[in-house]
Symmetry: C2
């Protein structure tokens, strides 16, 4: 069988079977996403009711399409799918994304059987679709306003998947790919991972799974994948947690969507970090919160050496506390003071990672702070994790950094959790 997983991610042409002109219907949303996102190859909508849709010719059946079809997206009513599978086989189509279906419904099995009968590999049923920035392919039910970036998202759930895409967008986490596994009756995590581990545009992965075969090969595959690309598993399943227990030191498993996206963002930097961090803060109080959390983390905040303290002190005109870590450069510290101190830390061989904690005050300028961080990010390879805490200006600064792929966070807790995942992965991948 001449199926290749690349056809799923990099099709040259796409047929959407069961399109609709009614907004809100799956057949409308998927086609609209596909067209508006600018898929460069031919798009073939199929529905006997229409002759055109979105200004594109609409076909009565798959068999009316004379050109080659690489990938079929199925949004047809479930009962029509067996017939469509026959037509797809006749057209030589080898892979289909089945968005139709009710999750876990007996009809899923019938869809799978008909696909297998006709030699067609399927993603789904009940897939949320497939999205791949590099191919300008958005054949999903998800929102349009995706931020492009380097986090890949694999999800079993159609509705949760849509919400996750939306959440990634508002939280400033850029995505490179989204794969809706749905009922995963045929193409499963492993094939998808095998593609995405090679995909240069994807630098870290969130894998949402609700179940995992006990003693199956996915555990082993994941062990291999994380040697090359960091993965965060999003699940609340005790079974999955048990199955992954051996890997958990380096493969974070969480039931919180924010944590999963936060970690994936830090991991997508692929900056390897040792344990030994220095944190800088303009608020002793915020520094103490961070300090208190460190005991639950592999991140360490050792006392800086006297030499390092001397180098930092020159940039802090009034006061400051250097004997501690976080280093407190006081609430009067402006962006220039931060820059001086951060430069010292990022150049120092004794420091393996830096957290730059900035509380928004009447005196501070979060947007200038963010620009300064962005410059330093480009200048050094060392992990640099900014925390900008405060109101509207702080929130905007965090988002502006995230849109540039820099793992910025609005609170110490979220930053440290993400730094922890980065260190854990680094220790593993460089071991």
């Amino acid at each position: 069988m001449n199926y290749d997983i690349r056809t799923l991610f990099e099709p040259r042409s796409v047929a959407v079977i069961g399109v609709s002109k009614t907004p809100g219907k799956m057949g409308y949303e998927v086609l609209t996403n596909l067209v508006r996102y600018g898929f460069p190859g031919p798009i073939f909508p199929v529905n006997p009711k229409y002759s055109e849709i979105h200004g594109i010719r609409c076909y009565k059946t798959v068999l009316d399409i004379t050109e080659d079809i690489d990938l079929a997206i199925l949004v047809s009513p479930v009962e029509r799918i067996p017939k469509v599978m026959g037509e797809l086989e006749a057209k030589g189509v080898r892979v289909a994304v089945v968005i139709s279906g009710k999750r876990g419904d007996p009809s899923s099995l019938r869809i799978y059987e008909s696909a297998r009968k006709h030699g067609i590999r399927i993603l789904g049923p009940s897939s949320m679709g497939i999205f791949h920035v590099k191919s300008r392919l958005n054949a999903t039910l998800g929102p349009m306003d995706v931020i492009e970036g380097s986090v890949g998202l694999i999800t079993e759930s159609r509705t949760l998947g849509m919400a996750l895409m939306g959440l990634a967008a508002v939280q400033g986490v850029g995505l490179s790919a989204v794969v809706g596994l749905g009922d995963k009756l045929d193409i499963g995590e492993e094939e998808v991972l095998e593609y995405l581990v090679e995909d240069m545009s994807t630098r870290s992965l969130v894998l949402h799974v609700e179940s995992m075969k006990e003693g199956g090969s996915l555990r082993e595959t994941l062990g291999e994948v994380i040697r090359r690309k960091p993965v965060v598993v999003l699940t609340a399943s005790e079974g999955v947690k048990d199955e992954l227990e051996d890997l958990m030191d380096h493969l974070p498993v969480t039931d919180d969507v924010t944590t999963a996206l936060d970690m994936a963002l830090a991991l997508s930097s692929k900056r390897t970090a040792g344990k030994s961090f220095v944190a800088v803060t303009n608020s002793g109080g915020a520094g103490k919160l961070l300090r208190g959390m460190v005991s639950d983390s592999v991140v360490e905040l050792p006392r800086p050496s006297e030499e390092l303290v001397e180098d930092m002190r020159q940039f802090v005109p009034e006061g400051g506390k250097f004997s501690d870590n976080p280093v407190d450069i006081t609430g009067r510290a402006g962006t220039d003071v931060y820059k001086g101190v951060l430069d010292v830390l990022l150049s120092s061989r004794e420091v393996e990672g830096v957290i730059a904690l900035h509380c928004e005050t009447a005196l501070s300028d979060p947007s200038r702070f963010a620009d300064m961080i962005s410059d330093l990010w480009d200048l050094y390879d060392k992990p640099l994790i900014p925390v900008i805490m405060g109101g509207r200006r702080a929130t905007e600064a965090v988002l502006s950094l995230r849109r540039r792929g820099i793992p910025a966070y609005p609170t110490p807790c979220r930053a440290l959790r993400s730094a922890d995942s980065l260190v854990r992965w680094s220790l593993f991948s460089t071991s």
Copy 2:
């Protein structure tokens, strides 16, 4: 001594000593907040350099003010404070908020000594100031765009306090009061709590503390306070955690600012909740995440009775899974389906609290969902915790509910954690 803690929260007149015309300076920010927030009584700026500021007469010294001064706000340079204290005594001022000072600096003690010598009670030094919606008093360094609500915030840290006020605003958590304890050399947590526990506009409290006297009376005071008003303690101090250990079942202690604000929002509803919740979801996947987290919580999601299932089922035309909890009303469920099911649950005697989980999809309308929730919130007394997960529309819907004082959350994790704190407090306060 005729000092009364009410003078701090409900002054009839305020003098600000050490004002400045330079934005970013503490003496500018505090006065500007005070004026712009619309304090109704007389404001007396003091600085020998100016004759007016913000169109208000500026006095050379405190002694030049002929009218009565209820409350003094000190933003003067530290070395001038002893002299100012003498003048305040001469004017009959009994209480001052000392914003000046470096946290933990030896000069703090000198400030305190001079205040004591002149019989003046102080909040601070290094206080972030005081904010009280009911008195239209914003004498803080914090941001202007505060959302008014019913959460009171008490904080030791000046810079963290500003960031917390900002964070509360962007996260839609309405505040009733903010008290900057600073070095808390004189007025401490206990006096402030004694006022706020009586303050009708404050319905829950976040108490940020970095240290607590071992075996001191604060522990006991907190035990009393939480019988009447819920408190969340924000701290990373092991000492504080040890000290509060006995109370922790009902007094949440967290080192995460988001968690603290989230919990305080749920607690400010003061709706007493039993353990027995039903959750409703349009996403099986999101429901499973919530379900998986419940084991770490006092919240229980028992299987609904057959009678309840029958009552719910009539509103769900296609499919749905009612045997589980969360009840899955499927991704096709619109606002009307939610409303029907939620009405049933909120009226049922078997249900003690409801979580309404809604994932944003192409079909859904988060803003209509939010309006529906708001109506039900007004109609029933039972805890109703909405989770609206997704992109921009979901985020806006969460914020619009929060601004109405309704504890809405963007993720299942944050909602459940907050529901947990509400149940724990309820079990205690009603016992």
